[in-house]
């Protein structure tokens, strides 16, 4: 007995003897067609309304939600000639830079392999293996700490290389960077020492005609900045300052938004740093093998302002002291400022006022852990505020505040109309633009997820300082910036963070540092080119 065989009247199918579906059957066949009709009518009405709104907004803005119209190629031509690199200062940052140039330490490779096995969201190794061949050789390593020098040598001959390329012969260790510069064995150097050494090393490299990729902050003082600027300007070397944001797709898109004048008059720019871990506050690990025998303390101190007895804390956590760096100003304000300078091309401010204090990390440091700086640009009719704490992790982002809209820039980008905008008043009134949600968002063309493994990594990712995208492919921003430097060495052109940008970065940071230390408002004298 079949189900249908027991049908009662209400469901009895009407069929004729020829087996053709009858009138009732036909009706029942088509009865759901109107449902599809109603569905499609509503679907297309909704889609048309959404599309029209979007079109209206995009037509008004004159900029698309797609990737930046023009992304400068980090490498303009296949790298022909091999460039020999030296690393000066193979600490945490130095090792990262060398890795992004194609030389990961074998231990790092193993760690990342395990990390990826435990959590496939960890893609650091994959990004490393897929990075382009820069055709470089790491021929020289200089570090005052034996362990780090050895790590550099190990990295130089690593077997696991991007694209499965063969291992290179081991790099040579130089005790003093000057011997490396004059050895004839390097064409370019990556300087990733503490800040107090940057200018002297760069000046010496320029004198030897050795190209320089230098970490930020470019210098530690105004005097060093002037001397370094002159030396680089009067040389033929290619200089790149290590601000990876220059290669961030979202930052390039942000500049497009500014050029299209979507925000209206911008009166306030707010850059922030919030971190809440000891590591984020530069309480870095003290290596167990660090001691006066393995560390050349005298060479480490070098041009430091004050000479003190050997100190493991000072060596491994140097950012906590003004003798070697400038604290938040040189480490993180420098990133925020360079991002703003990249997007708005602000240059050096007219004045700076800074304040702050050591409010949380009372561990003997002399740099503030809470720091605010206010810069005035009267000619641009705007203020740039930097605000930072190392004892709270609330994300505040980087915001450009205009009369008509606010742009928030991080790894991605969003523009939200202002409720009281003059330009968008009509469209807000008619409901086309909703000021409570972004009218424009740009997410780099990547269908997938970002591996964010730690609070600090998250901070760097949110700032576009770790990864960016090229054609939907995740790339290391470091790698692209180093690639650009090498490309200019080979083929000419200008690096995106050249000595002019570096001068602006260093002076702007030092204005805040001076203001904080001298407890007064400082100004920039553009004629004498001096902080006064």
């Amino acid at each position: 007995m079949s189900d249908e065989g027991t049908n009662t009247q209400s469901n009895q199918p009407a069929t004729d003897k020829a087996g053709i579906v009858g009138r009732r059957g036909f009706l029942e066949l088509v009865v759901s067609i109107p449902v599809i009709g109603v569905f499609l009518y509503n679907f297309f009405r909704k889609k048309a309304a959404d599309d029209m709104k979007k079109e209206a907004i995009m037509a008004e803005l004159g900029v698309r939600e797609s990737g930046p119209a023009y992304i400068p190629e980090a490498v303009s031509r296949p790298p022909g000639e091999r460039i020999r690199l030296g690393i000066i200062g193979n600490g945490g940052e130095g090792e990262a830079l060398v890795r992004h140039a194609g030389f990961a330490h074998p231990d790092w490779v193993e760690e990342q392999r395990q990390a990826a096995a435990e959590d496939p969201r960890n893609q650091a190794l994959q990004v490393y293996l897929e990075q382009d061949d820069l055709n470089v050789e790491l021929t020289a390593v200089c570090d005052v700490f034996d362990v780090r020098a050895e790590r550099g040598i190990a990295a130089s001959q690593v077997a696991t290389r991007p694209g499965g390329r063969p291992a290179n012969p081991p790099a040579k260790r130089f005790r003093h960077y000057h011997d490396m510069l004059t050895s004839g064995e390097v064409d370019g150097v990556i300087i990733a020492t503490p800040d107090h050494w940057h200018s002297q090393m760069s000046i010496d490299a320029a004198a030897e005609g050795i190209h320089v990729y230098c970490e930020k902050c470019m210098t530690q003082t105004e005097e060093q900045t002037q001397a370094m600027y002159d030396a680089i300007k009067n040389s033929d070397i290619v200089f790149q300052l290590g601000h990876q944001n220059r290669q961030s797709e979202a930052h390039i898109k942000a500049r497009e938004v500014i050029d299209a004048n979507i925000l209206g008059p911008i009166t306030l720019v707010e850059g922030t740093t919030n971190r809440n871990t000891p590591w984020g506050a530069w309480v870095w690990d003290i290596h167990e093998e660090g001691n006066p025998q393995t560390i050349d303390w005298e060479l480490f101190e070098g041009p430091a302002l004050n000479k003190v007895p050997f100190s493991l804390e000072r060596f491994f956590r140097w950012r906590c002291w003004f003798d070697y760096g400038t604290g938040l100003s040189g480490d993180l304000l420098s990133h925020e400022y360079d991002a703003v300078n990249q997007i708005l091309q602000l240059g050096i401010p007219k004045s700076a006022v800074a304040s702050g204090g050591i409010y949380y990390f009372k561990d003997g440091r002399d740099v503030p852990d809470v720091f605010q700086a206010v810069y005035e640009y009267p000619e641009r009719e705007l203020t740039f505020v930097y605000s930072a704490t190392l004892a709270n992790g609330q994300y505040r982002g980087l915001k450009f505040m205009g009369h008509d809209a606010t742009m928030q820039v991080s790894g991605d980008l969003s523009v939200t109309a202002d409720r009281n905008s003059s330009r968008y008043e009509e469209k807000i009134g008619s409901g086309v633009i909703d000021p409570s949600r972004p009218m424009f968002t740009y997410r780099p063309g990547f269908r997938g997820i970002d591996a964010i493994t730690s609070a600090t990594a998250e901070y760097f990712v949110s700032r576009g300082l770790l990864y960016t995208y090229r054609g939907g492919r995740r790339m290391s921003a470091y790698h692209l910036l180093i690639g650009e430097w090498l490309d200019v060495i080979r083929n000419g052109g200008e690096t995106s963070c050249n000595i002019e940008r570096g001068f602006e970065e260093a002076i702007t940071c030092h204005m805040a540092t001076r203001s904080y230390l001298e407890n007064r408002k400082v100004e920039w004298d553009p004629v004498r080119r001096r902080i006064v």
Partner: protein
């Protein structure tokens, strides 16, 4: 078909019971169809965020999918077209049984990827408050109910197909 429980036989249902069951089927179909089409027309849509936030026993599998670009594209494609086809079939009453089972499988995958169990929390905000039972589970069980009380032959293309087959068999006899 063999004899089922009397209550599950469409022939024994009142008109009201039939209408309620068919309405339920069409509404679930509508929901599936729109979920599919909305994803199809959104160039930014990807299941990656949902999969990456996966918790519980199968999270490893889902996270693996989210991090493998080729696999992810395939999964996104299957998901979108699966939703659209299941939705259409449920509305039309076409291959109802197959579509219902496919819908249950899809919803079960959504559920086990992110079950609202005590102790699990998700980065993606839910639009309501759920503990163990969420709307995915309810929709899933509603489909199971439709499997127990099949309606394709009450009102739908399946009925016509069935009739054509049966009358064809009769004619041959």
């Amino acid at each position: 078909m063999t004899q089922g429980a009397a209550a599950a036989e469409p022939g024994r249902w009142t008109r009201f019971q039939s209408i309620v069951l068919v309405t339920l089927r069409i509404l679930i179909g509508w929901h599936f169809l729109y979920e599919g089409l909305a994803k199809l027309v959104n160039p930014y849509w990807t299941s990656a965020d949902y999969l990456a936030g996966s918790q519980w026993w199968f999270s490893g599998l889902f996270i693996n999918i989210a991090t493998a670009p080729t696999l992810l594209t395939l999964v996104d494609y299957i998901n979108v077209w699966g939703l659209i086809l299941i939705g259409l079939c449920l509305i039309l009453g076409l291959l109802t049984r197959t579509a219902t089972v496919a819908g249950i499988v899809l919803l079960a995958l959504y559920y086990i990827a992110a079950p609202p169990f005590a102790g699990l929390s998700y980065a993606m905000p839910a639009e309501g408050s759920y503990l163990v039972v969420n709307k995915v589970l309810i929709e899933l069980v509603a489909l199971v109910a439709l499997l127990a009380f099949p309606t394709g032959r009450i009102l739908g293309v399946d009925r016509v197909i069935f009739q054509m087959r049966r009358t064809g068999a009769l004619a041959q006899a």
